[in-house]
């Protein structure tokens, strides 16, 4: 019995006793639970490159309050379980006050409650799901929520002259969130939603759902769908002779969707968050990236990751190197800050308040940008800049 108690004491001493001595450190550590192996490792590699670039720049200018920033990378193995393990390790072993969270909304949302309970700041640079930050006030993101995409999709529908549409959506957090955002905005603009059709993921037969959406031959149908589901639906609609303008969100915008649906995908249209590449900050970022890595192929979401580092560094500068300080300072640090991906001001849900959206369409089997006619283009721009 005594031995066991002694063992516990030693273990406790090892766990808690020795670590405070390390607090007198000479760098500001930031955790990053990234996909460095597994199915989406190819993305994780790209994020890391852009984060390293930002850290290098900040440190070259003297760091934050005279201290250098150091990123502690932890592999999340591209799955939700190991994402949680990675975040726990960063919190308990490395004791970082702020963590860059995993990619993929579901992976991120698995780790958010852990960070919230431990009172550690967690940021996302890729998550679009509407409820991504709902776990609590320690959870932030620099990638725009789909709550912003809804109004843009509504504007697209109105500008194309579609005043009455049925709405189909995939029955999950993402689909429901975007559906609500779209319907609210569309109604405010004077549009009429004729029918709302929820459907399940991963089905192979959507004919009757499509039949119901196509009732009365509507000139346009809004379909908030994924890659696979969208491909099945466009194909089946094509076979059923439903001729309509499909209006989608960003999640269906993938070459894989076009590959699966073939010519049935032709003309499908949708919105997606875009980063204007002609700005000075973006060009400077591109130059710096090219200088460091030798090519100018910016990895997907790399620009958002780059901005995330700067926003976090500004928050440490203002609030000090503690989770509480960073959490409190983040909104002020980001307010009005113009990063590579635009204005990073947070809204009350700790998501970007502003975002620019562009329109994609399928033309000749390829996904291309679509330009609205001149007059409509004017209206498309976000009111506040």
């Amino acid at each position: 019995m005594r031995k066991i108690a002694l063992g516990f004491a030693v273990a406790a001493a090892l766990l808690f006793g020795f670590t405070p001595a390390l607090h007198a450190q000479d760098t500001y550590k930031i955790g990053a639970a990234f996909a460095l192996s597994g199915s989406i490792a190819v993305y994780g590699e790209g994020f890391k490159k852009c984060i390293d670039l930002a850290v290098e720049e900040i440190n070259a200018r003297g760091g934050v309050k005279g201290k250098k920033i150091e990123i502690v990378y932890e592999d999340n193995k591209s799955n939700a379980k190991d994402c949680v393990t990675a975040v726990r390790k960063l919190i308990t072993v490395d004791k970082v006050p702020v963590i860059f969270g995993p990619a993929g909304s579901s992976n991120f949302m698995a780790t958010a409650p852990v960070a919230q309970e431990s009172k550690v700041v967690l940021l996302s640079a890729q998550g679009a799901a509407v409820g991504l930050t709902k776990a609590g006030d320690y959870i932030f993101r620099v990638f725009p929520s789909d709550a912003l995409q809804g109004p843009h999709l509504a504007k697209l529908a109105m500008n194309r002259g579609f005043k009455k549409v049925p709405v189909m959506y995939i029955n999950n957090d993402w689909g429901l969130g975007l559906k609500n955002a779209f319907v609210d905005a569309y109604k405010k603009m004077g549009g009429t939603v004729t029918d709302i059709i929820a459907y399940d993921e991963k089905k192979t037969d959507y004919r009757t759902e499509l039949l119901r959406a196509g009732k009365g031959n509507p000139p346009a149908i809004v379909n908030l769908t994924y890659i696979n589901e969208g491909a099945v639906q466009f194909k089946q609609a094509f076979e059923m002779g439903i001729k309509t303008q499909w209006l989608c969100g960003s999640a269906a915008r993938a070459p894989k969707m076009v590959e699966l649906a073939g010519k049935a995908a032709e003309g499908v249209m949708g919105t997606y968050p875009s980063v204007p590449q002609n700005t000075k900050t973006f060009q400077a970022f591109k130059e710096a990236y090219k200088k460091k890595y030798g090519d100018d192929k910016i990895p997907i979401f790399g620009d958002y990751n780059y901005d995330m580092v700067y926003v976090t560094a500004r928050a440490i500068e203002r609030g000090g190197y503690s989770a509480e300080g960073i959490r409190k300072a983040l909104p002020a640090a980001a307010k009005g800050y113009r990063g590579v991906t635009g204005d990073k001001t947070f809204d009350e849900e700790r998501s970007p308040k502003f975002a620019e959206y562009a329109i994609w369409t399928v033309k000749d089997g390829k996904i291309v940008d679509y330009k609205l006619p001149e007059k409509a283009q004017e209206k498309k721009k976000p009111a506040k800049k």
């Binding site: 192979t204 004919r207 009757t208 009732k215 696979n228 491909a231 094509f238 002779g241 894989k256």
Partner: protein
Amino acid sequence: MDLTYYFQTLLNGILAGCVYALFAMGLTLIYGVLNFVNFAHGELIMWGAYFLLLLMGEPFGLSLPAAIPPALALTGGLGLAMDTVVFRPIRRANRLTLLIAAMGLSVLLRNAAQFFWGAEVRTYGLEIMPGTPFFGVYLTMPQFAIVIVTVLCVAGVYLLFFKSRLGKSMRALSDNLDLARISGIDTKRAILAAWVISAVLAAIGGILLALDTNLSPEMGIINLIKAFAATLIGGVGNLWGALLGGLLIGLAENIGVLFISPGYKDAIAFVIMVLILLARPYVIAGERSD
């Protein structure tokens, strides 16, 4: 609302029902002969479709008509292998053991397909054709094939089951395994035949489904539960019942979508299934052997 709208819904229901019926017939056949629910039947459906993909791709490069017979043969072989490796050693184990073995096998086969082909959705890469309108109702070639092939399969299974010696021995087995054996029936042969027929029916259904829609490692498991509901409705072990049950579920869920949110489409089949289970619980518990 014009009439063609309802006709199209009816047709969608019949198409879904035909596919469910093909799955249900194979499921009910194994249940009838071996008295357990083969939860790995969904994987025979999926592997059937993937065998065709394998034969149509590199390095075989067969055309669709040429690739179908070997794909069916391979799936039949997979059915035999399932029996030999997993189910024969535990033939006389209780139902729970068989059920769990089948579930484990299902996961194994599904993950194997995922390992070889990945989790992404695939197609056979055939050109998409718009449907041909018949009196305002659209029907594509694969859909036409679904109806024709289902009718042929039902007729074929009927002839085999009720007009041949093999069918007779399978029915005898279904009634009483020991008695059949004592009477000098080659039970081994009858059981193997049941596995092959069940697997080939699954492959036919899977290929038709994949031609009409897509391939994914989960295509089997998603449809299996519907097929299971169909066998329950029709009375387990009853071939005609499987056909009727499949059509009933296909029609019920498609017609239901017109009146309630399609988000509850699956619920319709499950509600029917739960009601049947409440009315006839012995189907799973195995307290009665009819």
